[in-house]
Structure formats: structure tokens, C-alpha cells
Symmetry: C2
Subunit: 262 residues, 2 copies
Amino acid sequence: MSDKEIVGKAFLDLAKYEEDVAKVEDDIEHYRLKMMQPMVERRDNIIKNIPEFWKIVLSQHTSFADFIRASDFKYIDLIDKVKVDWLIIEDPKQYSVGDFRITLHFNSIDDDFNEQTVSKVFKLIKGDINEGDTDDETEEERLVSEPVDIQWPKSYDSINPSLIEDKHSKEGKKSYRQGMKSFFGWFKWTGKKPGKEFPHGDSLATLFSEDIYPYCVKYYTEAQRDLEDEEEDDSEDNSSEEPLDLEVESESEESDKKRRKI
Amino acid sequence: MSDKEIVGKAFLDLAKYEEDVAKVEDDIEHYRLKMMQPMVERRDNIIKNIPEFWKIVLSQHTSFADFIRASDFKYIDLIDKVKVDWLIIEDPKQYSVGDFRITLHFNSIDDDFNEQTVSKVFKLIKGDINEGDTDDETEEERLVSEPVDIQWPKSYDSINPSLIEDKHSKEGKKSYRQGMKSFFGWFKWTGKKPGKEFPHGDSLATLFSEDIYPYCVKYYTEAQRDLEDEEEDDSEDNSSEEPLDLEVESESEESDKKRRKI
């Protein structure tokens, strides 16, 4: 082979290599998820004994607030359980490493909102929204989902999409859009109708799966510390309040450097 | 147990959990290194057929340049092989997941610099520089190393620490410091004499192990593209130059999203 042919072959070999390495990386990720699964279960069993754990995490998480309208936090505060399950652990034949299910448990508000548990599955697929496009070169991975049922609060009746009778009137359209932008609209997100759904529904899903859920202890500890600092500022003599996060605090500093992915 | 006791126990359990999860994470990292090792070997066998691969990667890498004096690049350009070996793969009993060896091969410059291969081992240890301090709470992980021999270029005789006879004169001190700050001074770095060694020698090691070496194909492709853009700008009619990175380019766009860690 000429030098030029050798170099040309090297680039072809690299392209094939990148394909193969992607498979090995998926295998490594599968192993990671499998090993972490019992650990996460153990963690979740511990944190359920900490009062208002998820309320504190969710209400103090800066990026989460970017997705949630201020008025929705009344209902976010009702969430007392968050769980992310990686579906490849349950069924490696049907699912790949990027597929997951988010489960949230909501407490109730009398005469307004029912206690309920809602699960939503997100699948990582390749290909453009336009399914006719099968050009491998442009194939990007993206999340898709199916709408799931959730009982909306009564106070949201006017923007609840399933209660809006005339979706074509100006008023109806506006209310529909408002509803779709609320946190409850997120449960209808599919990733197939851009511009007409909950905005950046995929990013909110990823925020749960890759940030909030894996690092919830870190966020809780930080939020507790911030809240205590505020309390201290408010009333210096409030010494009856015991700081509860001493044990975790020292661990958390370490996990800032080497963030625990769970 | 009272509510307060339950919560107190939860925090103790979390602290223990964090310890255990660190072990699982080390196990996962060991698995990852083991699985990637043959892949990296395959990649290195491909890229050795690409002319000036490492010269292009190292000369175009922005953060790398932060560690290297401009005048040292004459010798950086002689590097035609970079390798990072994770020592736990070779000896899991003696080493932990953070320990690695960087090996560089230099070509020669007649009458100035000898061809040579130099290896330097970095170990991740816990504990402060002050070894008397055994307070677990403040234990941070940090890299340490031992000085290794490298033959300096003749042109550096005046700043070569082993050739400076009077290290206490003003001139001697200055030359010594200059030498220690050169890329060749990095091979003497230990991490035990802060302020007196190659600056941020640990960060340069980590840059090799966590960035340059794992993502070298991505950096090469980007650098090639930049160089070609520059050439195009310089002479639009230079059509005899064939772009060599077409095969890799499409892969590289994907790996921007999901960076290949090798």
C-alpha cells in the first residue's frame, strides 16, 4: 500500500472503531446501572425517613425551577417520592441503556388534588422527528415518550386541556397552551410535536434521571445548609434548632469533587 | 424510636452509604478501564499510521498550551507517541483505580536532543502533604509522583537543573526555576514540594489521562478541520490538498454529545 492508502485505511478503521467503542460503552453503562441499582434502593430506603426530603430538594434546585412555573410549586411541594428506574435492568432485550421510567408520588390537597402515583417512560431513539429521513449521517439520539394520565388539580380546571371544550377559540387556545406549559402538561409530552408541547420536556426528564435523582443527597445537604444559613441570619439566637446534616456534610464535600452518580 | 432518633439514624446510614457507594464506584471504574483497554490498544494501532497525529493534537490543544512555555513546543513537536496505562489493570493488588503511567516517545534533533521514551507514574493518594495529619475528615485525594530521568536538550544546558553548579547564586536560582518550569521540569514533579516544582504538575498529568489521551481522535479531527479552514482562507485555489478526515468527521459530531472516554 502507498502511504496515502495506509492513511486512508486508518481513517476507515477509526470510523469502524468508533462504532465498536460505542457498543463497549453501552455495555459499561449497563454494568454501572446494574451495580448501582441495589445501592440506589438502599439510599431510597434511608431518605424516606427524612421529613420533606424531596420537597427540600425540588424547591431548592435552581435548574429545576427553570422548568416549573412559580404557581406550580404548590403541587411540586406535594411530591414525597421520586424514583428513576433504568429499563434495561428490567428487560435488556426490549430496552437499551438510555431508556428510563420516572415515578412520582403526590400527596393530596383536600377538595383540590388527589393523592396519586404517576409513572412516565422515556426512550432514547435514533433518528429525526421526520421518520422518512433515514440518512445515517444525521441520526441524532433523542428522547421520546407517550402521554400518561394524571389527575389535574381542580384549581387548574380552566387550563386543563381535557376540560377545554373549544380549543379553537382565542381564549381556548390560550388556556390550552397555558395548561400544556404547566408541570401537569409535562406528563403529556411526547417529543413528537415540537412547539406544541411542554417546552423542553426531554431536558426536564434528563434533569431528573441524570442530576436530581442521582445527586439528591448532595442537593438535600446543600439546601439544608442554605436554609440553616438563612435561619441563622434571621435570628442568631435560634439555638434550639439542631443542624441535622452534620454526618452527611463531610461526605458531601468529597462528593463535590467526585460527584456520586447513582 | 422517636421521630428525632429515626432521622438521626437516617443521617448516620447515609454517611455509611456514601462510604460503600464509593467502593462500588471504584469497582465500576475498574470494570470500565478493563473493558476499554483492548479498545484503546486497537485505536493506538490505528493512529500510529496517521502522520503527525500527536504533533497535531498537542500543538492545537488549548488547555495543554497553558502548561507549556512557547519555547518548549519545539520539543513537544518531537512527541510521536503518547500512552496512558491504568495500573490497576496490570496489578490490582498494588494499585487503585486512580493510578496511572504516562509514556511519551520523543524523536531526536541532531546535536541537540536524543530520541527517547520516558514513563512517569502518578498515584492517587489520600491525605495532606503534611503526613502527620491523619484527620479523616479533611482527607483529600491528590496525585503524587517520583522524579524520572529524561535527557534534556543541549540548548537547555543553561537551565538544566542537574548542570547548574551554583543553585544558591541569584543567577543560579533564576535558571533553576526556569528549568523547573519547562516541560522537562515536569518529569521531576513529585507533588511533595509545592511552589518549588513544575507548576500544577498534577493537573498536567490529569489533562493527559482524562482528556488528551481518551479524546485524542476528537481533538485530532477538530484540529485538522481548523487547519484546513485556515489553509482555505490562505489560498482558496489550493485544491490539490485532500481533506483526510471525512470518515471521522461525522463520527466526531456525535462524540461531541457523548464524548468517547477511552
